[in-house]
Assembly symmetry: C2
Homo-oligomer: 142 residues x 2
């Protein structure tokens, strides 16, 4: 599994980020967990293997990764910022029952009606509803 590790390091370097132990750990976590985790989840999951880790470092690292374009922050959840290492265009869906956040194939939004001269640099589409799993359970429980 050192191919992953070197790929992570490369990705950091490509974005102008010096690959420290902590930064590698955070980015690797995001790459291997497409669950759009919160800062807290990332911290708790990494803490056992890096017992000196500070939550401030997770915050710092994520801010840096976002600034450099290495990962995306998504605001689909009003309570906590969530992070996504997949930077190719796609939408997100959040289930209001279980809270899971899923990826959806992107239909690039057509930004009609913006004043001439507006420059759109990025976009995020968030969908809300109930996931298939939770709908399945509802039927079963009946």
């Amino acid at each position: 599994m050192d191919k992953l590790r070197s790929h992570i390091q490369q990705r950091l370097t490509e974005h102008g980020i010096k690959p420290s132990l902590q930064r590698i750990a955070v980015l690797e976590y995001l790459v291997t967990h497409a669950t759009h985790p919160t800062v807290d989840t990332i911290f708790s999951d990494l803490y056992p293997s890096i017992p000196t880790l500070s939550k401030a470092t997770v915050y710092n690292t994520l801010k840096l990764l976002v600034q450099c374009g290495a990962v995306n922050m998504i605001t689909i959840d009003e309570k906590n910022a969530r992070y996504d290492a997949c930077t190719t265009p796609h939408m997100h869906f959040r289930c209001r029952k279980c809270g899971a956040i899923l990826d959806i194939e992107q239909e690039l939004p057509v930004t009609l009606g913006l004043p001439r001269g507006t420059v759109v640099e990025s976009s995020q589409t968030y969908c809300y509803g109930v996931c298939a799993e939770c709908n399945k359970q509802d039927i079963t429980l009946h």
Copy 2:
């Protein structure tokens, strides 16, 4: 201007909300200010005319309005929740220079690739970039 007021009251009632002075004021503010204001802005702007107003009431009222579907909360701004009385589908654009949030005609997102059984109830699309005004100023300053 009492046509507006009665329209606001009706809209509250239609959504099962008892139209108190404060609730009318908050909804009327949102209807007449399509600026996607924050709680703080709403409070500061209403305070002079309702000097007994509490920020908690603004929070309570907005939460109620959102729960009842009378207004939308948008999370285009990571720092503060923003509110929008226009509930017909449209997208939002935020300028990273001046912070303005503008409406954009909606292209309904096509949610491909979601597992069979998923129910999408609503969606929000946020676009980020630089608005026409700010781009104009950049050219002039050069």
